[in-house]
Symmetry: C2
Subunit: 236 residues, 2 copies
DNA sequence: GTATGTGAAGTAATTCACAGCT
DNA sequence: AGCTGTGAATTACTTCACATAC
């Protein structure tokens, strides 16, 4: 049994002006981030369907299964091309591999975790990354006592080695799990080391250049939102 | 040090049609959920500012600090009333207490955790709830071996006792941390026990009546989205 | 007949811009 | 002069509806 466990939560930060995401596709139209998120849901459903041995599905059926309208399904797919057959629907195998390609699930990405406190340690040993094509390849901390320690199968390195290690190991995702005060500093270091994508667990509003994808993670806001809905619930 | 840690992530599920949120205010206008989420950020910033001894702030300054436009700040506040002074800005203490009231942070809510596996256990011992006015008041599991076990200061009860306990302890938030297959079943039980608000950690599309607030939590989708952005990044 | 793909219509959220208050 | 509060304009996302393809 686990004795000490931590949990955290992701919140898609919507208003960050410093982040303009490169979501253009084939024909230069912007794809809503929500659409991409739904594509992953379609993909998962398709994988399930494939397992069951079904080979074909209509947008209406697929939508039904994931609580979306048929039009939404078609529009979402439409951002990336034409995958269906008029009158017949979509071939599940084909659509599945098309989505895997579009969504980058056919590739693996190296991840660096910065900060080896509770949360950082959690991330280092979190088993879910691999299933999503992510490989934790390095961990950093500024605390001398933590450096050299092994967690999972990687060794914690000093933050000053970050730039070198990130380039050497071809790491493209940085996860920030440090206190809020130094989060921006860490972000800057990651960015100057050439990282493309930051998952930020610190409750701090980070500023990043437009070509870096920032995703903020904030359990507190989610929990808090719950209290709002309770406080303002109309007793129907 | 922690040996075993888990982490999870919240994703605001946007397309769920079954969930129509009661976000009406004073004058019956709908308030975007994103606005509410931002209000919490403003509130946190105000608390910081109050600590530093600042008493007044303009929408532009506040916005600056949290990466929002001045107009956004004013619009968000405008949904709930008029808190500012023309030409002078907002009194920090006043705005702080107004927001605390609006957002329900002045109340405490009882929470039930269903499912005492890794994630459920994590939640039971997660120290962050209290800071947000949430109190874990009960935990349930269907596994006979887990029943009776103590985690933190609460005892795991059989799922069949749920309805009783929820009413007895005046619990208004249910957290679902069970496998996807039984998530809907658990949700139905929670709802019929009169729960108002569900935080769902199972990767399952739950259906709930309109008067129940459902919030889905899904680390996978967040992680996945990262790969998409890497896969489709324009190298600029 | 059946289901796609896609402009057009509709709905929602954000940003603009300025009248009016202090 | 400075800043709020708020309609109007803009931008973004979703739903409709139908011409088109099988």
């Amino acid at each position: 049994m686990l004795d000490n466990i931590l949990f955290f939560a992701i919140l898609v930060k919507k208003g960050t002006k410093s982040v303009k995401i490169v979501t253009d596709t084939m024909n230069n139209k912007k794809v809503p981030e929500s659409a991409i998120s739904r594509l992953f849901v379609y993909l998962r459903e398709l994988i399930e369907l494939a397992k069951v041995g079904i080979h074909n599905i209509s947008s209406a059926e697929l939508g039904e299964r994931v609580n979306q309208s048929d039009a939404q399904v078609r529009k979402d797919l439409g951002h990336f091309g034409q995958f269906g057959v008029s009158g017949a629907g979509y071939n599940i195998e084909e659509l599945k591999s098309a989505l895997e390609k579009i969504l980058g699930k056919d590739k693996a990405w190296n991840v660096a975790v910065v900060g080896a406190g509770h949360l950082g340690s959690a991330l280092l040993t979190y088993p879910g990354f691999e299933a999503h094509g992510l490989k934790v390849a390095a961990a950093f901390d500024s605390d001398a006592r933590k450096i050299g320690r092994e967690l999972g199968d990687i060794t914690i390195q000093p933050i000053d080695d970050m730039a070198k290690a990130i380039k050497a190991k071809n790491i493209s995702i940085g996860i920030i799990a440090v206190p809020a005060k130094i989060a921006q500093e860490v972000a800057d270091k990651l960015i100057s080391a050439g990282i493309g994508c930051i998952l930020n667990f610190a409750p701090a509003g980070l500023t990043v250049p437009e070509n870096v994808k920032l995703k903020d993670v904030d359990l507190s806001r989610e929990l808090e939102t719950l209290s709002y809905f309770l406080a303002n619930k109309k007793s129907v």
